[in-house]
Amino acid sequence: MSNLPKTLFDKVWDAHVVRKIQDGPDVLFIDRHFIHEVTSPVAFLGLENRGLKVMFPEKTFATADHNTPTINQHLPVQDPLSANQLKALEVNSAKYGISHWGLGNPKNGIVHVVGPENGITLPGMTIVCGDSHTSTHGAFGAIAFGIGTSEVEMVLSSQCIMQPKPKKMRLVVNGKLGKGITPKDVVLYIISKLTAAGATGYFVEFAGEVFENMSMEGRMTVCNMSIEMGARGGMIAPDETTFNYINGREKAPKGEAWDKALAYWKTLKTEEGARFDAEHIYDAADIEPMITYGTNPGMGMGISQHIPLAEQTGGSKASYEKSLNYMGFHEDDAMLGKKVDYVFIGSCTNGRIEDFRAFASIVKGRKKADNVTAWIVPGSHIVEQQIKDEGILDILTEAGFQLRQPGCSACLAMNDDKIPAGKYAVSTSNRNFEGRQGPGARTMLASPLVAAAAAVTGVVTDPRELL
């Protein structure tokens, strides 16, 4: 090993290599394995077929989130396939001694919300889950990424995964964010510049003043969408903001263990002069509230802009036209004023308490627009309780909104929260692919402030006018 300065990514990766395969991937040890009901059943079946056990149940954490209803969770789940998967998760967790927070458990919620809020996610860890938004945990200075079901089986049986070490990219955003501009806008802005495949093959580190000043929840929103720029994952160096967030949470280290961990965490930063394979630098002053107009997360723009012409986008004209056709939009359209039928606030991207505070800051004293159906879905029961304790529920109720129960919900519409065909939704989730939120659904991705503004006016609105 040379004495060249190391990046944060290098430090964490290198510390987890159990074996380097000649001309092959690294065997990487995994500190935390999150599992949920959709990508684990076949993995457990595979274990059984091979006659293998779970190597480290205590490093494995299960929650039910993708398939779950967001109302009447106390009643039996209606859809038999969903019920089957939820049961399989419960049975498998019990069989192998894995911690399981099922429907109704006070700690239940979306996997990438409950990990951090309970202190399970810590700096310097390697974390995987059968879900692409696992990158969320990178906000803590962890190497966290999504894996497929065969890899879930691999991690269950050996607590390791085979991965070639990705290239490294640094994305720097300097300056200070203007009023009404949120972490969600920052990441949508970056993806619009890089494109949905711009970071493929890279692991990203987000750096610069904007991230240093960002809260943990904001950092989670940004790292969550690393996958949408094609990156393997994204991370942010841990600092005082990180340590203060973690301190005292249920599964966080305590006493002597805390002191030891903290000393290690303070070494987790990129060294002066460390080399990245690629780097892009942005200025906060260029970022306004964002909204997507197309069918991949890279098709986003400032809310006051007009939809680009095909030739300005540099991709295939036919694919661009197909995308705009699907959305019922046209080149050069303004987005402001476009009608909105549904508003969804929630998901692992924006389902935390700060997101609901932001939403409430706009709807307070106003009323939900009559033409809008709104789904307000907290990321976990802990977030749901905070919403009640802080009086946000009263603000929502007063404005004509209903609070639902935690789950992935309309982000991918595996449950009943499906946007009907042809309807327009402003959504705080992470993907606007064709049919993602329901067959024929038309998704516009945005921040909780843009979602709130749309919810009270019934059309796409610049939230800064309502602040």
Partner: protein, 198 residues
Amino acid sequence: MAYDKFTVLKSSAVPMPIENVDTDQIIPARFLKATKREGFGDNLFRDWRYNADDTPKADFILNNPIYSGKILVGGKNFGSGSSREHAAWAIYDYGFRCVVSSFFADIFKNNSLNIGILPVTVSAGFLDKIFSAIEADPNTELEVNLPEQTITILATGEQESFEINSYKKHNLMNGYDDIDYLQAMKEDIKGFAEERIY
């Protein structure tokens, strides 16, 4: 063996000249409710392939009988989006053993390699040649030679080399998977775990 060995594949190919084909299209979310790996071939590209009433959409490539084969040729950034391995299962269970494109999304590429599908990355120019050859003759055969790492349009002899990690290549050629390899180093892993601070 976890799946059938892959050495040399000679087959006609199904052309899909669409860019950014995401895994929500390859296998919509409602099919992720399975607890067994069954029926995925039937649901490959379900919403592009079938109308709401389950009648086949006449203009979708998989419903056009003049195209067939074990190779799928896709536009760039194939397999983007969600990590669902079910997308790779759907492609394998339908009958494809190889996907050719000028660019693959990472997670999809990994998932494919893990279950015995060979993703072949060619240059944009060669991809166009393949599409043109198939357009001129739907029975155009391609030969994908894994040991030599070449892909050839048989009618013309035009050929390009492709990259593949030698560890994955070794596994594919033998029908092995990573789990077999890792089980063999169990004791090393347990020893490593003891050194961790968490």
